[in-house]
């Protein structure tokens, strides 16, 4: 691996972490689309900043562009507050307007400089090692690396300092207000960080990948954990994993690095969406099937307890008496037999002692409101899962 390759992967990984942190909160605040808006509408800010500084990595340019990002959020909120249009419409109105101003400005005044639409949309990670920082003739590495490292450091510091405030105002803004923590400050703070990160990552990965790096890792992590700290750490992990795997994919396919990273992000999300232990599609389908069988089993044994008459308990009449719709009666009967809940004599089904006891418990379970009691029973209920 050459040092340029190493540098590209390092930059991509730092960008991924810097994006995943604000991204997690954007996802939890249901503001994922705001990151899309910010990433596009900072373009005029970048162009104006570039006119002034002539340097894509200048801190002034980053601040100017980030300001446009915050302006986007403000404009979206103002339009939304008129109650004439909804939030998604407001986003759809604001960012194309600002983005197109940027596009016109580039086409008109900046055609001959290193600032073209392709680079803006997709970035060019492969070129980042060429633009380096020299001080007294000593090579200090790529500029992009320094820019994103500083941004990441600021983001991490703010996260550590204001973690509690971020968590509370994201979960319950009303409580935050009543306790004297202004959710507005947190909100605009988060928007500023998201904007600055977007600008800082922009040159390296472009407007579209920035969105992917903010939203996809957080959305993936959301499916796997019920703990905010773990969600942030997981999001960072998925971001870095996709960045590095994406880089090598691009290397192998000789394709765009940004495109490959975004593709890996999508694939990782899809895999987790399918296979996540609790929220994953397969787990959900499996659980639903189990629940149908459980409910059917309870219905079945309740029926047996309620009916002493022989004709109600004949094997062949099961389907008629209990209206099985979604579960085959054989499955339920087998399950009941396996757990020694029932016995069959001359095609007549009877509850065993164990089955009788369980049924009584099940009735309690259904009727009771005592949470502690239910907790104990829940464990028993797992016993008879097929």
């Amino acid at each position: 691996m050459t040092s340029a390759q190493l540098e590209i992967q390092l930059i991509a990984s730092l960008v991924a972490i810097a994006c995943a942190i604000p991204g997690t909160f954007l996802v939890l605040r249901k503001m994922a689309m705001i990151s899309d808006a910010i990433s596009h509408s900072i373009l005029p800010g970048i162009v104006v900043g570039f006119f002034i500084t002539q340097d894509l990595n200048s801190p002034l340019l980053i601040l100017l562009a980030a300001l446009t990002g915050v302006l986007t959020v403000v404009l979206v909120e103002k339009i939304q507050q008129t109650k004439l249009v909804k939030e998604d419409t407001a986003i759809g109105l604001v960012f194309p307007a600002l983005f197109s101003i940027g596009v016109i400005m580039i086409a008109k005044y900046a055609n001959d400089v290193h600032l073209d639409i392709d680079a803006v949309l997709l970035g060019e990670l492969a070129f980042t090692p060429f633009d380096r920082v020299f001080y007294n003739g000593i090579d200090f590495g790529p500029k992009s690396l320094w820019v994103i490292a500083v941004i990441l450091l600021v983001t991490l510091t703010l996260l550590l300092l204001f973690y509690k405030e971020l968590k509370m105002s994201t979960f319950d803004a009303g409580l935050a207000t009543s306790l004297g923590f202004s959710p507005a400050i947190i909100h605009y703070g988060l928007m500023s960080v998201a904007s600055i990160t977007t600008v800082g990552a922009f040159d390296a990965v472009g407007a579209i990948l920035v969105v992917a790096l903010m939203i996809a890792p957080a959305a993936t992590a959301y499916l796997l954990t019920t703990n905010l700290t773990k969600m942030i750490i997981l999001a960072c992990f998925f971001g870095v994993f996709s960045a590095i795997a994406g880089y090598w994919c691009a290397n192998y396919l000789d394709a765009s690095i940004a495109g490959s990273i975004a593709t890996v992000l999508g694939l990782v999300f899809f895999a987790v969406y399918l296979f996540a232990p609790h929220k994953g599609l397969i787990a959900v389908l499996y659980r639903e099937k189990q629940q149908r069988i459980e409910v059917s089993l309870i219905t079945f044994i309740l029926h047996l307890k309620n009916h002493k008459e022989v004709e109600e308990r004949h094997v062949n009449h099961l389907s008629e008496h209990i209206n099985w719709q979604k579960v085959r009666s054989k499955t339920v009967l087998d399950l009941a037999l396996k757990n020694n809940f029932v016995s069959i004599e001359n095609s007549i089904i009877s509850l065993t002692e164990k089955g009788n006891e369980f049924t009584t418990k099940a009735i309690d379970y259904i009727l009771t409101n005592e949470d502690v009691q239910i907790e104990d029973m829940k464990k028993d209920f797992f016993l008879f899962r097929g």
């Binding site: 405030e165 979960f171 319950d172 207000t177 009543s178």
Partner: protein, 244 residues
Amino acid sequence: MEKIAVKVDDLTVAYNYKPVLWDIDLQIPEGVLMAIVGPNGAGKSTLIKAILGILKPIAGSVTIFGKPYATQRKHVAYVPQKGSVDWDFPTTALDVVMMGTYGSLGWIKRPGPNEKKRALEALEKVGMLSFKSRQISQLSGGQQQRIFLARALVQDASIYFMDEPFQGVDATTEVAIINILKELRKANKTVVVVHHDLQTVPEYFDWVTFLNVKKIATGPVKDTFNDDNLTKTYGINYKVSIQK
């Protein structure tokens, strides 16, 4: 005359020029258990939110023990409507209750063992200790409400505002909430509850405020909770049979 816990003067709140609360004057004496009743859209929740500074009134002022709310935050706890937050948020029951301690911590400072101990005690009071590590979306509606209640208890405030704590809860939770309310009253705390079930007003509360954009009446339940005020609040010939 007892001490006034909350004093609201000429409070007016409007959404887009339409007044939701109109010139409300209200005094809540210390140590009362007050129900705020009124039809849908009467501004009950808005009144609480305006008192707590969550909504900006267009006119009027609020004082808590004679001082502006901003200086008295530590004395006030708030239980919002259960539906006001996203219960899929990745956090546990204990964590939500810990949020009640954030006010006393202030900015930046993190909760420590002392805060955790207080939160666990509050969870025990509402009978939710065994659920402390449970993710909040896996709790029933009643359990979620009790978590909110525990979060308010942990603040150890003097005044509690609760927005429909009985909304859609099971019998166990209702009893748990009532017991907490009674305990709070015993400790001379002031509790203000937005309440929907008129039948239970005389049983649960000792003060009542009738609200329908304007304040209709306020006072002790035995003097104020009558057909006359009910009709004025809810419309023509509105009557409930009240067991006195």
